[in-house]
Symmetry: C2
Subunit: 214 residues, 2 copies
């Protein structure tokens, strides 16, 4: 495998920003988008349980409808692609069993997974409903982080968004009846020339303040 020079990675991370205005005419190619979907599927998660679903909203009318419930931020309608990262609200022992079934399917017979299965089931059943939701929601932010990083490396713009009304998203997208709820959004595409935020220097606290050594 070819290692990517660290400076190239840092250049990408410095290049990216939360895109405020997308060019509605510029579309991500099918090949690039397919790779980004693959990167989402490859996201690591707690125990590997993947308590999520990635929803791509392609319907332009529905995307327009969502603007109102996104603090009127037009990115959800204008970006090339709209990704909704949703959490599953039905994670329980049967989901653990589905996952164990998938391990067996991919890795074949390597003896029993009973111990691993019981550890995961114990972890899940020890959490109350709110605890499971928080745990799952945290995992979706790993997916968000990985997605934004991969997009930046491919020189694709993205805008992470927490500012939306989950209940309206769930209703409009029919998520509730599928035991899903919207966790976080990430429109992706290409910045418009008029987005003045693209030119502003990135603001981060200093490395000295953010990193400590013990």
């Amino acid at each position: 495998m070819a290692t990517i020079p660290s400076q190239q990675i840092l250049d990408s991370l410095n290049w990216r920003y939360a895109t405020k205005v997308f060019d509605p005419e510029k579309k991500i190619t099918d090949e690039d988008w397919s790779a980004l979907e693959e990167s989402l599927v490859l996201t690591p998660s707690s125990f590997g349980l993947q308590p999520w679903e990635f929803i791509i909203v392609e319907n332009p009318e529905i995307r327009e409808q969502l603007v109102e419930f996104s603090w009127n931020q037009r990115q959800v309608a204008d970006a090339s692609h709209l990704l909704i990262i949703a959490i599953r609200t039905d994670i329980d022992e049967s989901w653990v069993d589905q996952f164990v079934g998938r391990i067996e399917e991919i890795r074949g017979d390597q003896g029993s997974f009973t111990g691993y299965r019981d550890m995961m089931a114990g972890f899940i059943t020890n959490l109350d409903e709110e605890g499971r939701k928080q745990w799952a929601k945290q995992q979706t932010y790993i997916a968000l982080g990985q997605f934004m990083t991969c997009a930046a490396l491919m020189e694709i713009d993205a805008c992470p968004m927490e500012g939306f009304v989950p209940a309206k998203y769930d209703e409009i997208l029919g998520l509730t009846e599928r035991n899903l709820t919207a966790s976080v959004l990430c429109p992706a595409g290409y910045r418009a020339d008029e987005d003045k935020y693209a030119q502003l220097p990135k603001v981060r606290f200093s490395k000295d303040q953010m990193i400590s050594r013990i």
Copy 2:
């Protein structure tokens, strides 16, 4: 900026795995580690508020001491570097003001940031203590996701870990009195030859199951 081919990114994501056994003799170079620290500092966060601190535990005795409070997982002692991502427990209006001060410092005088400041302060003060903690914790998982992705691209192994006792970590590392609490860990370094998990095929649900279109 050079775009990185998507296949190279996917190769890295397929190469990575949650490393169970690190080779204690193999160290990440100072140059590579410095780049990874820089990638942490560059992590995007809600409003850009960076409600975190990244702690690198270098002291080998302390790292040994932490093993017991990490479900006896030796990665925290054996990996080249041990990263603790902590959340700040004192995020309030004064942190918002610090951030606004930092914006002014970096971007210079561009008129008033009062509206943006008040929006952020309103967001924070509307959350109760537990709500702020959850919000901050979610942000740390973006950092975790970005860190793991960057490490993989540099062919550096990592192991995300939620299985530890935060109260003991906070006590041993003196985090509580600094208004910090450990959120998630990520030892990083190089896999040992004997780590049998390195050879196993990655288990993910299928793209068809994980991704839906509306």
